[in-house]
């Protein structure tokens, strides 16, 4: 019978542990570094407590909440319509998309989200896609600037200005649009609006191409971004990332396709998906999404019911006195409309009791509103599923192992807004 012998083979983990023990005296002490809350690369008031070993991050603890305003509490104390301006201030880089998301969420509770007039649906889609381009442009510009490419920032901000002009023409406001109303829109778009978008698309195609030339095959850019901040497919789902961050990791999920709303079913567009989930993939996904948004906008410009000038007087709001405000002339001349107007303004829209959740594909990810109603004009509880908040929660796992100079790159590639994260 052969004798059993102990053979000492140490696995790699044990070897590393032994080496670490030997090197303990040589290694320096770990340093704790506070990044933020007012650091230019943290895009707002994000604070990250970094534990450093030399220049390598060993632990990262993101600290959010510096911009907490209690939006959810405020929502419980006002009517559904009164909360629309607060949604502008969530992701303030894409207020139009937030307006659309919130209006659709309340309409779902009312059960009218699939009965919206077609012209309203098209205008809302155009607003959401304009917001997507605008938000990605800012994200890209700031991302490139933090990485050291300042030119792109100037380029993208020039284009964003044009989107603000278009938003102003529609809603009267450049930043805090509040363009949607429950059951429709504040007003129809002006007759030259569609042409404004056509002109913008023509100019934007050139600018996007220029940004593409400046970055996509730029050696410095690629070297900084490749294989950095890699999020695997499983990790992305586990952390419930959404939007370009989820798709950058190779998960083909887009609410516009998987749970279609508005008129996205009638429009032809593709979903951009990454392969490795590093910063470079997330950058490429955003670039491609802007191109797809241009495609959607072009189709909308051609297919919008009523055409640019709406000569056939297509409605942009649901014609229901219990949901949307009647015209002022009717209010002043007819008893029933006067009562409707009075009830809507004083008590708000009477929503049925129940609970709904609606997720909207916002530029930053899935912006969801969970509404718990006990009936009446105000919600019992309104929960905002903020994509930036959830996308940031992965930082604690993503940053350790990176160099400290990689932090702005990883943050830029996640593209978050603190106004939305902190609510």
């Amino acid at each position: 019978m052969a004798q059993v012998q102990d053979i000492e083979i140490r696995d790699s983990a044990a070897l590393t542990a032994a080496a670490a023990e030997e090197l303990q005296d040589v290694q320096g002490e770990k340093m704790v570094l506070n990044m933020g809350p007012s650091h230019p690369a943290t895009h707002g008031v994000l604070r990250i407590v970094l534990e450093l070993d030399g220049e390598v991050i060993t632990k990262a603890d993101p600290d959010v909440g510096y911009l907490h305003r209690g939006d959810e509490k405020i929502a419980e104390n006002m009517t559904y319509t009164q909360f629309i301006p607060y949604t502008d201030r969530l992701d303030y880089l894409a207020p139009l998309a937030n307006n659309v998301a919130y209006a659709l969420a309340v309409e779902k509770l009312l059960g009218i989200h699939d009965k919206l007039p077609p012209r309203c649906q098209y205008i809302r889609v155009m607003c959401a896609e304009l917001a997507r381009i605008s938000s990605h442009l800012l994200g890209l510009g700031a991302f490139a600037m933090d990485t050291g490419a300042v030119t792109v920032f100037l380029l993208t901000f020039t284009e964003r200005e044009k989107i603000y002009n278009i938003a102003e023409a529609a809603s009267g406001a450049r930043l805090t649009n509040s363009y949607t109303r429950i059951g429709g829109l504040m007003r129809d778009v002006p007759p030259n609006w569609v042409d404004m978008i056509r002109v913008f698309l023509k100019e934007f195609a050139v600018a996007l191409d220029e940004a593409n030339t400046l970055l996509t095959r730029n050696r410095i850019w690629v070297d900084r971004l490749r294989d950095l901040g890699v999020v695997s497919k499983e990790m992305a789902i586990d952390y419930a990332l959404s939007g370009p961050n989820l798709r950058g990791s190779g998960v083909e999920f887009d609410l516009r396709k998987n749970q279609p709303y508005l008129c996205y079913k009638d429009l032809d567009f593709d979903i951009a998906v990454g392969s490795t989930g590093d910063c470079y993939d997330r950058y490429l996904v955003r670039m491609e999404e802007m191109k797809q948004s241009m495609r959607i906008l072009e189709q909308c410009c051609n297919k919008i019911p009523g055409g640019a000038e709406n000569k056939s007087h297509e409605p942009v709001s649901i014609q229901d006195g219990k949901i949307t405000l009647p015209s002022k002339q009717k209010v002043l001349t007819s008893m029933e409309e006067l009562i409707h107007q009075f009830m809507l303004v004083t008590e708000g829209i009477n929503c049925p009791p129940g609970e709904t959740y609606f997720g909207h594909e916002n530029p930053k990810g899935e912006l969801g509103f969970y509404i718990n109603s006990k009936g009446g004009g105000t919600p019992n509880r309104l929960k905002i599923r903020a994509p930036s908040f959830i996308n940031l929660s992965i930082l604690g796992e993503l940053l350790p192992g990176c160099m400290i100079s990689d932090v702005p790159v990883v943050l830029g590639s996640l593209d978050f807004v603190m106004g939305e994260s902190d609510r």
Partner: protein, 207 residues
């Protein structure tokens, strides 16, 4: 498999613990009777395809018993189906098991529920406040917390003086002239020649 079929599958597995699935606006909701079982239910839901935790939120049913409702929004990424699981927690207990071992995204959601509503999650390794600051004594999303807030013992974080409404360099002055003349930028610094036609603007006072 539709969301309703999945919901029935979960109901079949846990029997009487789960009430009949309800549907409202095309959304399926399952109500779990025992909050202690939420971990097992969620683990089973994940095993049948709900691999994405969209959101965790809480509702304060003030004046009712049990006081809290905790709501989990699940989704299957592959089939795009949503499912809502909710469970009640009594005020005396105010605690239920954490689902962090199933989905890591639950970490911040559970911290937020703890912070704003004061419901604890047993088994959560790092249950700290997340939106309010460390040491804040209240849970502001509770219905008995006033909208205006409550004073705390902590000193105010930042003190600033009230904006001077008269004469400050950025204050638009009241006047009957047009908006261009009222613009703070048209005001000429002290000592320089004044070019504004409206004489009432001189010295920054309305005469």
């Amino acid at each position: 498999m539709s969301a309703l079929e999945s919901a029935n599958k979960i109901k079949a597995k846990f029997g009487d613990l789960i009430a009949e699935p309800t549907e409202f606006r095309g959304e399926i909701t399952l109500k779990l009777a025992d909050a202690e079982k939420i971990f097992d239910v969620c683990r089973f839901a994940k095993s049948i395809g709900f691999d994405y935790l969209v959101d965790i939120c809480s509702v304060d049913n003030y004046g009712e018993d049990p006081r809290w409702t905790v709501i989990y929004h699940l989704r299957g990424v592959a089939n795009g189906q949503d499912l809502r699981i909710k469970t009640d927690v009594s005020e005396e207990k105010s605690e239920l098991p954490s689902v962090l071992p199933i989905w890591r995204t639950a970490n911040w959601h559970e911290r937020e529920v703890y912070d704003l509503m004061g419901i604890r999650f047993s088994g959560h390794p790092d249950l700290r406040r997340i939106l309010m600051w460390e040491g804040y004594p209240y849970h502001p999303l509770r219905k008995d917390f006033p909208l205006a807030g409550k004073p705390t013992d902590l000193p105010g974080v930042a003190f600033t003086k009230v904006t001077p409404m008269e004469g400050g360099p950025f204050v638009t002055l009241p006047s009957s002239s047009d908006s261009i003349a009222r613009e703070p930028r048209v005001r000429v610094p002290e000592g320089a020649e004044r070019a504004v036609s409206d004489q009432r603007l001189i010295d920054g006072k309305l005469k």
